[in-house]
Amino acid sequence: MDSETPIAYELAKKQKEISVAEFFTKNRHLLGFDNKRKALLMAIKEAVDNSLDACEEARILPEIYVEIIQLSESRYKVSIEDNGPGIVKKQIPNIFAKLLYGSKFHNLRQARGQQGIGISAAVLYSQLTTGRPAKITSRVSPKEPALYYELNIDTQNNKPIIAKEEIIEWKKNNGTKIELDLEAEYIKGKQSVDEYLKQTAVINPHITIVYTNPKAEQVIYAAATDKLPSEAKSIKPHPYGVELGMLMNLLKWTESRTIQSFLTSEFSRVGSGTAKEICNNASILPNTKSNDITRELAEKLLASMQSTKIIAPPTDCLSPIGEESLEKGLRKEIRSEFYCTKSRPPSVYRGNPFLIEVGVAYGGDIPKEEKITLLRFANRVPLLYQEGACGITNSLTETNWKPYGLQQSSGSMPIGPVVVIVHMASVWVPFTSESKEAIAHYPEIMKDVKLAIQDCGRQLGIYVNKKTRISQQLERANMFEKYIPEIADSLAFLSGDKKEKIVDGLNKMLVKPEIKKEIVQEDAEDDKIYRMEFKKNEEGESE
């Protein structure tokens, strides 16, 4: 090597831009496609999430068909079809075959998907493992024809390659269908497609899913309500939830000339008074041009935005499931004897509005001697992986379940016949990674989860306590029945009378009302002790 030439020039020959698509092919685990089992689930999940978002945005009650067909030992065809609004011709290639393309990233609104990476990642995975294109059918109206596409992704340039484009006959008036071939493995159990669809049906009581698995078994999850969830409004970001990069981006693209108008037009809850205060605190003149803000000034501005007192963001951007619908969903898919649900009022973490909903099912078909089942949801999407890393799980194990009638060694999952559902709705769910499997441990979120769990726990406790009391009463009646032959035997020996006569006499008394009263006692004392236990449980944790 020529010693005159710095080595950096040599190295520069090897340095080139890596496309997002290329990055993904090497880091597929970051998006959840780490193995064949999970890949099948992720592909279906992304497609279903998109369908549901599209239907709800168009105010259509979703009807989704999901089908999995096994092609060879480790190759499957999946097909997901919805009755949604369809996609216009121009957008179809970009939505399915361009990574990081979507409507949701720049918008703060409660939706299932948020980064616009999911479905194109599934298409890419399919292409990488089978070489087959994604097949898309979509129709926006009966007046327009149905379009059929076969799409590949140009991984170098993150651009769609259209392999086929044609107009076809389709029975549907409107909707979208995607078919993918992929390397996969079909399993049943805790982290399966079956479980994901079942949980999706629980948390979305308004949807209908028709699911056919590779064994050609069909399951229909029927809607339990015809009420669509309320429409989630989009909001502008709140100053407390902004990071430096995002702020600089907004500054770059804004149409506002001055910094004051930038602040009032790009953020929620910032009027001209608040905008001036932010500028003052940052020692920036309110009429400074937006384009003149340097990185240093942006940093100052950000610090001031976060230290100035600003009212909390509006919460009409959230669309809770509601206590009634949540209970319907639970009743529909989980057979038990007791249900209760709680929808918390909205709260805010780092400027992002959120709200927590909790549902509890007890008894019935749920196994008694096992750890309770926790079903986690974020914006109506089931979270099947990384339970241990999730803030929701911690909130649940940090709650003392003993007063609610369950066994629990401190800090671990309680034991008993219980299914707990926790749903977090937010304009931005803080996942710990891009595969969206665990929610980060924000104290505001964890506190609200605990409060909602306690609310349901209290109702559960009352029910469990009552149930225990009834079984104790049975035990008491049983006790007397067991004692009677013994007593009669001894008394017959002592008195010389016939044992049978004494047994009859005692048994007759067992059904007398005044003696029944003795067995079926009103345990006012129990209730008192029980309430005291509750108080202890909530001390230091109440709002």
């Binding site: 049983n478 004692y483 013994e486 035997d489 008394l491 009378d497 004494i502 003795e518």
Partner: protein, 360 residues
């Protein structure tokens, strides 16, 4: 104490409960309440006796049912023992009652204390002592002295039984005294002291009877002492440690106890006197160097004893309690051995008895 015979009484108990059942009445047993609130100090007889309060035990009552079952079970066991003319120990009775109810995991009794309590209840119900119900406690004490008795057909001389002496049975009711030459009785808390006195032939020299138990005085010993006291007018002197427990042993012997208040008539010995070791003895015989510091529990025990009805107005005893608290210490009888191994039999006891140096 009671009329009729024990087996008749048990039959009556059975019949009265069967009558309740025939009438459709919740089966009930009624007997005296055996708690502190129902124990009174009778100033005239100077003993503890049971008050008027009684308790009802009914079968159809969640809190009573098990105890009711246990009481009736013990009654059955006792009647069986009486019929076959055999005696059983408290432990035997526990095992006779202990079994699992068919089709459950409930035992009639789980611990001996349950059957023991049922036996004491049955004493109150029938008004017969457990010995009359053919239930005995373990033998726990020794006696020696110039006394000849007859027990179950055997003639026994308390002075001719070697180093162990005669062991006192639980039931002394049937014992006949053939000849009692001794002039007084010393009852001592410690077996070791009794052995010392026996070896030194103290009872022979002093013409007395020496009796010991181990720790708390058993019923058999109390009854034996009471019979000797009332039938032969022998004075009884109590020799115990100079500590709250020693005071308590004396108190029970003389006045009776709460748990056996229903039997005070047969057990209490109102004429018993406290010989020592007293706080005065400590000063007189220079035992201060053997002081053992009082614990908190000792101090609260002294306060409690000082407050008993029968000690409350006794100046001599109040003075004694006060001195012990001033010392802040207690002393064991064996401390006397520091003055020589036979000091107690050669000097301490003869001197005290000669001087009539007792507390009453």
């Amino acid at each position: 104490m009671a009329s009729g015979t024990p087996d008749k009484k048990l039959e009556e108990l059975g019949k009265s409960i069967v009558k309740d059942i025939e009438k459709g009445k919740n089966p009930t047993i009624e007997f005296s309440l055996r708690t502190l609130s129902n124990v009174v100090f009778d100033k005239k007889s100077r003993t503890l006796t049971l008050g008027e309060k009684s308790q009802k035990r009914t079968f159809f009552n969640v809190g009573h049912a098990k105890k009711f079952l246990q009481t009736i079970e013990i009654a059955k066991i006792s009647k069986t023992l009486l019929e076959v003319k055999k005696h059983a120990s408290l432990r035997d009775v526990f095992y006779m009652a202990k079994r699992t109810l068919p089709g459950s995991n409930t035992n009639i009794v789980d611990e001996q204390v349950e059957s023991d309590n049922a036996i004491e209840d049955l004493e109150l119900i029938t008004q017969f002592t457990r010995e009359r119900l053919n239930i005995n406690a373990n033998k726990m004490g020794s006696v020696a002295g110039d006394v000849v008795i007859e027990d179950s057909g055997d003639t026994i001389n308390w002075g001719k039984l070697g180093s162990g002496g005669w062991s006192i049975p639980s039931n002394v009711e049937e014992i006949k005294f053939k000849s009692v030459k001794a002039k007084y009785i010393i009852y001592m808390e410690k077996q070791a002291v009794w052995e010392r006195l026996h070896e030194d032939k103290f009872w022979e020299k002093q013409n007395c009877i020496i009796v010991t138990s181990q720790g708390q005085t058993t019923r058999g010993i109390r009854r034996l002492l009471q019979r000797l006291s009332s039938e032969f007018k022998l004075p009884i002197y109590v020799l115990a440690d100079c500590d709250p427990y020693g005071y308590y042993i004396y108190s029970v012997l003389k006045f009776g106890s709460i748990s056996l208040a229903h039997m005070t008539e047969e057990l209490a010995i109102p004429d018993a006197k406290f010989l020592g070791v007293t706080t005065k003895d400590i000063e007189e015989y220079g035992l201060q160097k053997h002081f053992i510091k009082l614990k908190d529990v000792d101090i609260s025990r002294i306060k409690q004893i000082a407050d008993y009805d029968w000690f409350k107005n006794n100046k001599q005893w109040q003075e004694e309690f006060k001195r012990m608290r001033q010392f802040g210490a207690k002393v064991e009888i064996q401390a006397l051995s520091s003055r020589g191994i036979t000091f107690i039999s050669d000097k301490y006891l003869p001197e005290k008895i000669k001087r009539m140096d007792f507390m009453d």
